[in-house]
């Protein structure tokens, strides 16, 4: 589904991603872990098409298409979803209104008719249950005055409604208390499926107690320095990133 080859990306002249290689197939859950500043969020944003990042080298193929050429909204309409690390508050627009407009633009891309208000509400009701979200929140301005946990739940809820092929979750677990983490994880598990791929970007191993990944990758200094199964996460939890960072440094020195 997603093929990343030697991806380099800059922001304001600083190279953040320095040659990422990653293959993600349908049905798989990949976790990307790493210390602060390693480029995890940048990778997530680059995949979603944020234009503040400039891709300088490499290629990304998504379902056989060159992803880099597509605008962020075109990517969304083709089934890519980014759950934001810091969801934006938008006064004056309710989640329901915006989400229906978004869903209908995705449906249009798929050649489907607009969902009318009644069918939409039906869908929303069902998906809100997934994340135990109070329906009244959806009538309020997007994320305005929401708690941290409510914002993250709103992201998972939107993901469930928009039904993406590739979901990228950028630190969705950060800053959540254990109840909220359980709810969010539960939501993620429910949308796992053979047709969908999920990339979980996280700083903490804790999420992985609830969402068990197929693959774990460690990102250090803009490169994936280690990949493995779910046991890699446990290993990291015990030894921390320090050992891996050191090994990566040594490898870089040897290589140069």
């Amino acid at each position: 589904m997603l093929e990343i080859r030697n991806l380099h990306a800059h922001v304001e002249g600083n190279e953040i991603l320095k040659g990422i290689n990653l293959t993600v197939n349908a049905g798989e859950v990949h976790t990307i872990m790493g210390p602060n500043g390693s480029g995890k969020s940048t990778l997530a944003q680059v995949l979603a098409g944020r234009d503040t990042y400039e891709v300088t080298e490499g290629e990304v193929t998504y379902c056989g298409e060159d992803l880099i050429e597509l605008s962020c909204d075109a990517r969304a309409r083709k089934g890519i979803f980014l759950a934001f690390q810091y969801p934006v508050e938008i006064p004056g627009v309710s989640t329901n209104y915006f989400l229906r407009a978004a869903l209908n633009s995705i449906r249009k891309e798929q050649g489907l008719d607009d969902l009318d208000a009644v069918d939409f509400l039906q869908l929303v009701k069902q998906k809100a249950k997934l994340v135990e979200m109070d329906g009244s929140l959806l009538k309020r301005s997007i994320n305005e005055g929401f708690s941290g946990g409510e914002k993250k739940r709103n992201e998972i809820f939107q993901m469930a409604v928009l039904d993406p092929k590739l979901a990228i979750l950028d630190e969705t677990d950060s800053g959540l208390d254990i109840d909220a983490l359980r709810i969010v994880s539960n939501g993620i598990n429910k949308i796992r499926g053979a047709d969908r791929a999920i990339i979980l970007v996280t700083h903490y191993q804790r999420l992985l107690n609830y969402v068990v990944p197929d693959f774990v990758h460690v990102l250090v200094g803009g490169r994936i320095v280690k990949s493995g199964g779910k046991e890699l996460a446990l290993e990291l939890e015990e030894s921390g990133y320090a050992a891996i960072e050191k090994a990566a440094e040594q490898a870089a020195t040897v290589a140069s």
């Binding site: 605008s71 909204d73 934001f84 934006v88 004056g92 627009v93 407009a101 891309e109 301005s141």
Partner: protein, 448 residues
């Protein structure tokens, strides 16, 4: 006196005509007012940008234009042409003026309480009305206001609404001034007077619209008088033609325990100056002034507010927003004067502008003059652009760039509309705001 060659000959001959009419009809009181006002206008001339109150709004092009009185001979306007400017079924009472003159065939006053007077000002001046003589021109001063002076000298018609003591009018009375905008520059001086007696309540909307893209000037003055414990809600919509000038003064005079609201929606016109003056002249008064201007091209709107807190324990709120595209300019100036004895005044003012283009411009000038020592006065102004993070957020969910922008602009504008009174107008105002957005696929329905 002024650098530009002012074209005022037509005003002089028009004044002679009005003066003669007043004498012939035996309206000595009006004759005296007109005479004073015209003399003052002659002294003041049109304002220039050297005048502090006009430094951001240049009316030189207006002063250089020779305006003839509009509607001579009268132009016929059909109900079909007026319809787009109505609020549909929300207009219970509708008073339509074409080129400054009452058009009874387009007006309807069915469904309003019998106790109230809703009439053309010209007709009540003709027949004589104590309330008119008592209040007309007693509130909107023209000592330093050239346009008000000119209006007072040359006013002929407009709406007169009088609500007697204790009567509550929940139905909307909509005053619509239509300019046919003929080929040569024309002018009207609409004059409206709304008097709410003690413990009464009334809802008034004013719409100013142009049917064509000719050059014309609407120089309008509305006086609102709220006697003790009265409630007056007022809303004004400017949908003038592309090349029009709209010079306007709304003068609100409030006695004890009164509540007034006024909303100004500026959607049309080339150059608009909107003076709103409120005098809180009785304890316990509350005045809310809101505005929303959505401008494009080279449109210019200057909202010029002054609130006088003359008595203690009064609240005032000002909340003005601009959405500025193209090379448009939105000017806001808000003076709050708290007089010596007006203790416990609570005044808040806010002005927010959203710039959608590099060439648009917003100017904001709050002015507080406080002569009392126990007051709360706050003001704030923000000028910003569309939040890029918000755009990315919306686009990352599949909305294209235009839809994302449209949604954010609409949300910004809508906050103003959400306060408008009466509620039955909000959907119409939202439609209007929506129609000012760039083409999007967004559904026009309740956004929040």
């Amino acid at each position: 006196m002024v650098e530009v060659q002012e074209k005022t000959d037509a005003f002089v001959s028009e004044f002679r005509r009005c003066e003669k009419n007043a004498t012939q009809a035996g309206h000595d009181w009006l004759f005296a007012i007109r005479g004073k006002a015209f003399a003052r206008f002659a002294e003041l001339g049109f304002p220039t940008t050297r005048d502090e109150e006009w430094q951001n709004t240049n009316v030189a092009s207006l002063a250089k234009t020779a305006f003839e009185p509009a509607g001579r001979p009268p132009n016929r306007v059909t109900a079909e042409q007026v319809k787009p400017f109505t609020f549909g079924a929300a207009d219970v009472g509708r008073l339509v003026f074409v080129d400054g003159r009452h058009a009874p065939e387009l007006s309807s006053l069915d469904g309003l309480p019998n106790e109230i007077t809703v009439a053309s000002l010209a007709s009540v001046i003709r027949s004589g009305h104590a309330t008119v003589e008592q209040h007309l021109s007693k509130h909107a001063g023209f000592e330093d206001q050239a346009f008000t002076a000119l209006n007072t000298a040359l006013m002929e018609d407009g709406a007169f609404v009088h609500v007697p003591k204790g009567i509550v009018v929940e139905q909307l009375i909509h005053i619509i001034h239509i300019s046919t905008a003929a080929k040569t520059p024309s002018v009207t001086h609409p004059r409206n007077l709304i008097v709410a007696d003690a413990s009464s309540q009334v809802v008034i909307a004013e719409t100013y619209a142009g049917l064509d893209d000719g050059v014309y000037l609407t120089n309008t003055v509305t006086e609102i008088v709220a006697h003790d414990n009265a409630v007056v809600d007022h809303c004004k919509v400017v949908r003038e033609g592309e090349r029009s000038y709209h010079m306007s003064t709304l003068q609100i005079h409030q006695y004890r325990d009164t509540t007034t609201t006024s909303h100004a929606f500026m959607m049309g016109g080339s150059l608009t100056r909107n003076d709103v003056n409120a005098v809180l002249d009785g304890e316990g008064g509350t005045c809310t002034l809101n505005g929303l201007s959505m401008l494009d091209g080279t449109q210019h709107v200057d909202n010029h507010l002054r609130v006088d807190h003359a008595k203690p324990h009064c609240d005032s709120r000002e909340f003005f927003k601009n959405v500025l595209d193209g090379a448009s300019r939105g000017v806001f100036s808000g003076r709050i004067v708290v007089h010596k004895d007006a203790q416990k005044t609570d005044a808040k003012q806010s002005n927010m502008s959203l710039l959608l283009s590099d060439k648009s411009q917003a100017d904001s000038k709050p002015q507080l003059e406080i002569f009392a020592d126990d007051v709360k006065c706050t003001h704030g102004a923000t000028i910003g652009q569309i939040d890029k993070d918000a755009v990315f957020y919306l686009r990352s969910r599949g909305l294209d760039e235009q839809a994302a922008h449209g949604m954010l602009v609409y949300a910004f504008a809508r906050e103003s509309i959400a306060h408008a009174r009466p509620e039955s107008l909000r959907a119409h105002l939202e439609d209007l705001a929506f129609s000012r957005l760039p083409e999007t696929r967004l559904p026009r329905e309740d956004i929040s």
